[in-house]
């Protein structure tokens, strides 16, 4: 084995781990707070990556899909307001029917006229093709943020309203799987299931440091993802919102007695987790330039492994676990080949769980002291 390649492989492993970190932390945030494994996390990661690809490649339909997602969420919010408003039941019924009719007309307009490509052509003319990656970031963030609200409404909140018990996590888990399938198949039916490639808007910018080649976008991504996760953990540790989040994580029934509006904070958690996934997805497209409808599954299994390895619900555990997994993956491709790369990853996870069932930094009691 050629050991001179080792430093390069370690660097590559760190870079890959940087992507996993954000997805693992997104999982961790939701499992730590709501005791619920949210399977829409990988779907949102994949969606952001594919949307970024689609905008870079100039697929106007991505804009149509975003418009539909925004429409759904706006309709949902108006419906919520309507339901809570002090109006006679008949007015509410008419309002709800009008809302549904309006949404259907809007949906029909978008689906039949497909304004995306035209909007795209106009934007390209106005900003220039180099502005596409900025547009991609905006579209990916916007779509994922509004979808997070939609998902919160129909996984966590729906189940809580229906069964009154946020700790019953099997039900939102299943409905989150439903969202995963819907999002994946929306992408597959739009762009197919093959690999989708593009060119990095930043080219192959790189520099050498001794024997190691650093790709500039990858390095910046790693720094960015670590900075975001660090900022998040400082937020959890020191701010009023962070304290509220930790109090909900420990005692969801006591936090409201302090004046914490749990039903308003849970959507914030979903959006934060969604934006972490979106950032990871965008960086994935820019760095690796090849995406497909299934990258979510791969990243999710690896990120879940990282999260479990580090200790469930522990942000720093997720970071170390994800970095470790990224490293093991790259090293095992380097040493035993890509065919067998899964064996070292899951073997390591199994070994560590036998020795330390709580993960590297986990607490024994799930639900207590998770941040």
């Amino acid at each position: 084995m050629d050991l001179s390649q080792l430093p390069q492989q370690i660097v590559n492993g760190l870079m890959l781990g940087g992507v996993y970190v954000m997805v693992a932390v997104a999982f961790t945030l939701i499992i730590g707070m709501l005791n619920f494994l949210n399977f829409t996390v990988p779907a949102l990661f994949m969606l952001a990556a594919v949307l970024m690809w689609a905008i870079l490649e100039g697929h106007g339909i991505a804009l149509d899909l975003t418009a539909i997602a925004v429409l759904l969420v706006l309709a949902m919010m108006v419906a919520d307001r309507l339901q809570q408003a002090r109006l006679p039941a008949s007015v509410k019924t008419v309002g709800a029917l009008g809302l549904v009719a309006g949404a259907c007309v809007f949906l029909w307009l978008i689906l039949s006229f497909k304004p995306g490509p035209a909007v795209f052509a106009w934007l390209d003319g106005a900003v220039g093709a180099s502005g596409r990656w900025l547009l991609g970031i905006v579209v990916a963030f916007a779509t994922v943020a509004v979808l997070s609200l939609l998902i919160e409404r129909f996984t966590y909140r729906y189940m809580k309203a229906k069964y009154g018990d946020a700790t019953e996590h099997a039900l939102p888990l299943v409905s989150s799987l439903g969202f995963l399938i819907v999002i994946e198949h929306t992408v597959i039916s739009t762009w197919g299931s093959d690999s989708l490639t593009t060119e990095s808007p930043f080219g192959n910018a790189s520099f050498e440091l001794g024997p190691v080649l650093f790709s500039v976008p990858q390095l910046l991504s790693l720094i960015l993802s670590l900075a975001i996760v660090f900022g998040l953990s400082v937020m959890l540790k020191t701010t009023k919102l962070g304290r509220a989040l930790r109090s909900i994580a420990e005692r969801p029934d006591t936090a409201p007695l302090m004046g914490v509006e749990v039903s308003r904070i849970v959507p914030v958690v979903y959006v934060i987790a969604g934006l972490l996934c979106a950032t990871a997805g965008i960086l994935f497209t820019i760095n690796y330039t090849t995406v497909d409808a299934y990258i979510g599954d791969t990243v999710a299994t690896v990120a879940i492994a990282g999260m479990v390895l580090g200790g469930l619900g522990n942000v720093w555990g997720a970071i170390v676990g994800a970095m470790l997994i990224g490293m093991v993956e790259v090293m095992s491709i380097y040493m035993v080949g890509a065919t067998f790369k899964k064996i070292p990853i899951w073997g390591l996870l199994l070994l560590i769980l036998i020795v330390r069932p709580t993960g590297l930094f986990g607490h024994t009691a799930i639900g207590k002291g998770k941040f």
């Binding site: 420990e250 409201p256 007695l257």
Partner: protein, 234 residues
């Protein structure tokens, strides 16, 4: 009346926990709610605080109907509950627990926290430690201090003496009387009947979710039926 509970009904499925209960609390009073296990005392406090939805009846705070309000909204309106079993956040530090108590406020509360540390030096000594290191008595002090930081008009306490040694129970009831002298109105649910009646001005005795006896503390202490309510006999 600062707090009025009118014909309140609480049901958990088939279980009828509170039946058409009336209760009044005037400004500056200590009122205690007594009764055996399962008499509906905790359900009453939960319905007043808004963590349990009543099936019927009304809760009025200072004349305003708050029955449909969420728990956090009632906290902001001056109603606070020290829950059974203290429920402090053991994954937060002592200081963070106190900050959580003031969550609903946007003004500066540093001076109030300092006053609490002066009153309870044990809390001050452990301010940056996780609240899990506190003893049962210290946890109860923290739970009450945390509730005080919401700057309530009414503080409800659910079995605060549970699991405390006799000396601590005495200092707990002294604290409750102190807070009341400073102007806080208190609704106290207790198993420790005699201590509660020595501190309170008035009391209600519940049985199977309904009031069977009420009156001033002196009247209740002298009434033989009080024992019967606890023994569940007729």
């Amino acid at each position: 009346m600062l707090l009025e509970v009118e014909r309140l009904d609480v049901r958990y499925g088939r279980n009828h926990a509170i039946r058409a209960l009336d209760l009044e609390l005037a400004e500056g009073e200590i009122v205690t709610v007594l009764g055996a296990n399962g008499a509906g005392k905790s359900s009453l406090l939960k319905a007043v605080q808004g963590t349990v939805k009543p099936a019927a009846g009304a809760v009025r705070l200072n004349g305003e109907t708050v029955t449909g309000w969420s728990s956090p909204k009632r906290v902001r309106a001056g109603l606070t509950l020290v829950p059974e079993g203290r429920q402090i956040f053991v994954s937060l530090t002592v200081h963070e627990n106190l900050q959580m108590g003031a969550y609903s406020r946007s003004d500066n509360f540093d001076r109030e926290i300092d006053e609490i540390y002066e009153r309870f030096p044990n809390l001050a000594a452990r301010r940056d430690m996780l609240a899990s290191v506190l003893s049962g008595g210290e946890q109860q002090m923290l739970a009450i201090s945390r509730a005080l930081l919401a700057r309530p008009r009414i503080m409800m306490l659910d079995e605060p003496s549970l699991g405390l040694s006799p000396i601590l129970v005495q200092s707990l009831f002294d604290l409750i009387a102190d807070l009341n002298r400073d102007g806080l109105t208190i609704l106290l649910v207790e198993q420790n009947t005699h201590m509660a009646l020595q501190t309170a001005h008035r009391g209600y005795v519940l049985e199977l979710g309904a009031t069977v006896l009420s009156g001033t503390a002196e009247e209740l202490l002298a009434d033989d039926r009080l024992e019967e309510a606890y023994l569940g006999g007729n």
